[in-house]
Symmetry: C3
Subunit: 334 residues, 3 copies
């Protein structure tokens, strides 16, 4: 299980400074790499010191670092070392790990009327409902649900336990009880989408819930009915998006971020972890809202004061007024 530097550069490009015949046994971070391993250095001046400390046998570096890296041993020069490294993990997987073959696992349940492309893979113990469509080269790992009438594009990866097409959460209140609104829409997922383990994407009430091309969703995310997520938006674990939110393209949402329903998020908006979006956001940028953690005693005092913040602001206003009056009086009497 190894790759020669020559084979790497042949497959991925980049300029090799060092021995083409060197074999690397493992991909590793700079901190844990041994002389048998290949690693990478992102072009960050703060990390330049790692170059002197790492034991890595070969390092992928940016052109600006090639002298320093070359002086210590083998390196591959690439314009974007992190991207190069990503592609190296893909090369490694192709050459070292068993493929995930196309086809439907015998333990999966695929209902009549579902269309699974022959080049797609439906893993063990999956369920694919009638009328669902799964595109070419898409992989459903194990125990995935794709309910009836939902469509998934090409080259998607759906992790274990994900549920695509559960009922949206819709009820009309009536005399203290809830009357179900049947969810008649579906879920439409584009190409190159990744959906994490145990993540849920609800079907729409009337129209479809839509996930555009290239969206990446981490684990345990809840996407409410009729949400629209723009292309290449990425969300970290535990995020919740309520119904009918319209989220732009190229956005990111940090872990446990929460987006309320029926609002619009522009393209290129970045929501920090643990932040709650209760209004539409029309301008690109980074948005944050969480209570900073503190030792418990300090938090208790500040949280208690927070309950009086509005009153405190009023008290400051009064002080300002009084002081201004005093000043006027002083001037008048001066």
């Amino acid at each position: 299980m190894s790759l020669s530097l020559a084979a790497i550069v042949e497959a991925l490009g980049g300029e090799l400074r060092g021995s083409p015949e060197r074999e690397v046994a493992r991909l590793a971070s700079l901190e844990t790499a041994t002389p048998a391993d290949i690693s990478f250095l992102v072009p960050n001046p703060k990390l330049a010191g790692l170059l002197a400390q790492t034991q890595a046998g070969c390092i992928i570096v940016a052109p600006a670092m090639q002298e320093a890296a070359g002086a210590r041993g083998d390196c591959i020069v690439a314009s974007d070392p992190y991207l190069y490294f990503a592609r190296l993990t893909q090369l490694w997987k192709r050459t070292h790990l068993p493929p995930e073959p196309a086809g439907i696992h015998p333990s999966a349940v695929v209902e009549e009327g579902a269309q699974v492309h022959p080049a797609a893979r439906v893993g063990a113990l999956c369920f694919v409902g009638s009328g669902a469509r799964i595109g070419a080269h898409t992989v459903l790992r194990e125990r995935v649900t794709v309910a009836s009438g939902c469509t998934i594009g090409e080259r998607c990866l759906i992790e274990s336990g994900a549920v695509i097409g559960g009922d949206g959460f819709g009820f009309a209140p009536h005399q203290g009880q809830w009357v179900k609104i049947e969810q008649l829409g579906g879920v439409r997922i584009g190409n190159d989408v990744e959906i994490g383990a145990n993540t849920c994407i609800d079907r729409g009430a009337l129209d479809d819930t839509v996930i555009e091309d290239g969206v990446k969703l981490d684990n345990l995310i809840q996407i409410g009915h009729n949400t629209h997520i723009g292309a290449h938006t990425a969300m970290a674990g535990c995020v919740g998006v309520a119904g009918s939110a319209r989220i732009g393209a190229h956005c990111t949402v940090g872990g446990a971020g929460m987006i309320l329903g029926h609002l619009d998020i522009a393209d290129h908006v970045h929501i920090s972890a643990a932040s709650m979006v209760a209004r539409s956001i029309t301008k690109p940028g980074q948005y944050t809202g969480f209570f900073p953690i503190d030792d418990n005693a300090a938090w208790e005092k500040n949280a208690a004061s927070l309950k009086h913040l509005h009153a405190l602001r009023e008290r400051v206003r009064q002080l300002e007024k009084k002081l201004a009056e005093n000043g006027d009086n002083a001037r008048l009497s001066g």
Copy 2:
């Protein structure tokens, strides 16, 4: 696939103003409806303008809107258009979608000693443990777990991936380690309950965890052991309820709301999204607690100041004192 207005009114009541023979091809929102579709207008003055813009072939309206709606085309007059619409989705499902037939899917695992009512449905790849009971007309979608000794009432809907009856989280600390408290209770779920995809309801430690009639739980919700949820309470996605909480009837909890254990929530309490309940709430009302989102730079400054809020309050107190003394001095010397 269509329904005539006559058939709708015959099934659901309401007063038809227009052509009974008109066929509607789809249920749609006012914004997306075409002349072939039926839509609804909730009686909200802010939305009255939609009436002029929508292309819908028929609109369900409240009596107060019947003149305006009738002037533009066909309408159905109903006292509660949203409720009428909910029932129309149910009619549509009954008449247009394949039924979810009763019975146990051959891929499901139902242990000996489980009691599944013949009119219940156990979907593909479900697990029902020994001693569990599932009532009439209850539907387990796919890949649901109902562990041994748990009971589910009638007309419930359990979405894919839900886990009913996992062990509650209970341990006694001992010399730096955790000794398991076996969870000997079960889960008791009433009638007309809906439980979302990948939601978890833990079995009780000694007594049962109880979900009363008509409760609606969205996806990815965690209900701790020995929790008691009163009738017709509804919770949105990503909510967490810790152990032994006692939540009243007719409550709502917004997405990612968090309720600590061993506390009581009165009936008719509404918890906003992303809010954390750390004490019992004895009075009906709306309760909220989350840090308002802001652009990141503004948040950083305010969050940093928040760590000094208690001290700031003390400083304001000092200022007030000093100013009062100055005033007294002024008066004394005046």
Copy 3:
């Protein structure tokens, strides 16, 4: 279905004050116990009053309470009543509930090359990938995924729906799109670990994600790739841990706590529920950070003021300055 007090003391030790031949029919809390039940009293002066009210036939008490407890009826004296009770639940389970027999359920899918210890149990509809290893006396409940190359130690309990070894969430940005970093590491779980329902533990990017001995994770928890969780740490439901976090031993994290990636948490750190950890924590202690809940109107006013807190602090600074100047002026002119 009962146990005699003699049998309990014989199995678990402790000093019986009362009738050895008394049979207990149920374990119960003090509040719900009947004369046929056994209960326990933790040594908390606040709870001593419960002793007079409970109907329990026998109570497990600490030595300090033995006189009071003995005066009202049968009791078992144990140095740590809660620990004794935990062991009693285990005894009860062993003697009253059907065992969870070792072996692989016929509906489970275990790939070639997986190593399942003959004394382990793989429940219904589980998936165990090639190269995965499951140790002796470990139980996978139903519908668990253990992906290829992941290892689980001995005496672990994995609840229904858990996903061990999904891909970590790693992408390199490239021209507005995301290029996948294949996740080549695995998950290594120690002995005596408990993992809750629908909890997800991602495989590492290069190295393994590591969960040390005795860790207890509740339901719906997300553990990112390359996280390291120290021995005997416990986390409540809905917690999220981002990638490459390094969490110490003997820590606790309350429900919905959130820990960002690439940071270190020392041993014996306790994070409160709903608190967000955005920096490393180097000292043991309790840490908290959430916005205190309030009635909605009060919250709205305080939250609005919070957006001006930094400015408010500046205004207080100005007031202090002015007041100090006035004082100086007064003294100068005095």
